[in-house]
């Protein structure tokens, strides 16, 4: 495959933004992550540099120094051409347990009514899909997941809640995701996941990376309560499967 064209933009004096074609595409995301991996391994090997991938872009940031844009963008183009010689990064599929019990899924009945389905059908549609993490942002550990079934598309709530609990699983528009911490939020809440997506006490505070896949599976309220205790004492390990690169 020919590499999709990149567009390099200056963004302040400490960072440079690389953009790929403006579309939500697994192929483009693959290319971005491949390039990110190459840059991390071969070029930006010290902690002075940070890379932030998202959907169709990759931001390269230097902590303190000014970047010479002309020289830097020339180099980026050179590095992009060399890319094919490096192995692709490992990517994982994470299977996350969700309790869709009405105690957690506070909007589940409303969602089912509005979409003319049963609660069971909503749960089946939500657990059947494999989602791709196209970005992490908004809050620490908040995943932008692509791949929701069209039949689950529902507008966000007209009035956002001032408080959505940690672990709440929501759907809105073409997106689904998990609130990694308590926060205000406008998504329709259909369940809860007790797995801590973000844990600041760990060296790698968020086990998920951009490009990983996510699947949800249904568990009972009792199992959820057990997961929650395991998570609180730090012994819960999320289930991961290595994906074919």
């Amino acid at each position: 495959m020919n590499s999709p064209k990149i567009n390099i933009k200056s963004f302040g004096i400490h960072s440079v933004l690389i953009e790929w074609p403006n579309e939500v595409s697994e192929l483009i995301l693959d290319k971005i992550l491949h390039f990110e991996r190459f840059l991390n391994k071969e070029v930006f090997t010290n902690k002075e540099w940070e890379l932030v991938p998202s959907y169709n872009s990759l931001l390269i940031i230097n902590r303190t120094k000014k970047i010479d844009f002309e020289k830097f963008s020339f180099n980026i183009n050179q590095w992009y051409v060399q890319l094919k010689e490096t192995p692709k990064p490992d990517r994982y599929l994470w299977r996350l347990p969700v309790s869709y019990d009405l105690e957690f899924g506070i909007d589940l009945e409303m969602v089912a009514n509005q979409l003319h389905k049963t609660k069971e059908e909503i749960i089946a549609l939500h657990t059947r899909a494999t989602y791709t993490v196209f970005g992490i942002g908004f809050l620490p550990g908040f995943m932008y997941l692509g791949g929701i079934n069209k039949e689950l598309e529902i507008p966000r709530k007209a009035e956002p809640r001032s408080k959505v609990v940690k672990g709440a699983v929501g759907i809105a528009g073409k997106q689904t995701g998990i609130y990694p911490q308590e926060s205000p939020g406008g998504w329709n809440i259909i369940g809860n996941c007790a797995v801590p997506i973000f844990d600041a006490s760990k060296e790698n505070p968020c086990f998920v990376s951009v490009g990983d896949n996510i699947e949800f599976y249904e568990i009972s309220k009792a199992e959820h309560d057990l997961n929650k205790i395991e998570a609180e004492v730090g012994i819960y390990k999320p289930e991961k499967i290595i994906m074919d690169a």
Binding site: G12, N56, G137, P140, Y144, S201, P205
Partner: protein, 279 residues
Amino acid sequence: MLKVLKAGFYTTVQDSGRFCYRNKGVPVSGVMDEMSVFKINSLLENEESSAVLEITMTGPTLIFEKETYMALGGAEMSATLNDLPIQNYKVYLIEIGDMLSFGRLEKGFRSYLGVKGGFTTKEMLGSRSFYKPITKYNRVIDNDMVSYEAQEVFLPKISEIKVDSFLDNLVLEVSKGPEFDILSDKQLEDIFSKTFTVAHENNRMAYQLTETISPHKISMLTSATIPGTVQLTPVGKLIVLMKDGQTTGGYPRAVQLTDKAICILAQKKGGDSISFKLV
């Protein structure tokens, strides 16, 4: 320990920031006004990344429980040491039991307190900067203790500096943001000709501006943002992301503040005026 008798309006521990976790959605945090803190840490001959107290609008009342040296900088808040007025950017010897308090906010919005060696609160993900839930608290509260190491002898090379204050500066210098070229001529003209008022919705995450410019229907994919990014919402509102700002966003990034402009804006409060200048 530094004992916090009264916490003031919004007082936090901040250092130079939390790096290398932005790909996990963690804001960089750190001091809002780097220029003022740089001078304080230089006077105290501290590391550039030493943690200071960031004091917003209304100052705290503090008791030092260990000997040290301190310096203040940033906003002018009528500070007193044991009830005697003290000045910014000057090193003071601190003895056990000394009391630092603050009075009227005269100029600016954020004042900084540095001590010799910096504050030594717990590091989380490589930084002491408060940001909940990375750190346990988002700000210090009454009766908190903030740790630092005792320092008995220190002969500063320079004990006092006169600074060119930028607290009265109203012009924010900016460069083009990634979506600058797709904004309309009218929008760009508005950005650079209008005077904007800082809205009361201003904090460490973002500063909103009151006046709006022409709305737009630009749709873009979520992409990275950095401190100083000026986002343009569909209704024409400008939002300047600051140090605790989210790491990605879906609004066009119209312009980007320079490092100095971030410091200038960090010293503005609701009701203050600013304007943008392209450099």
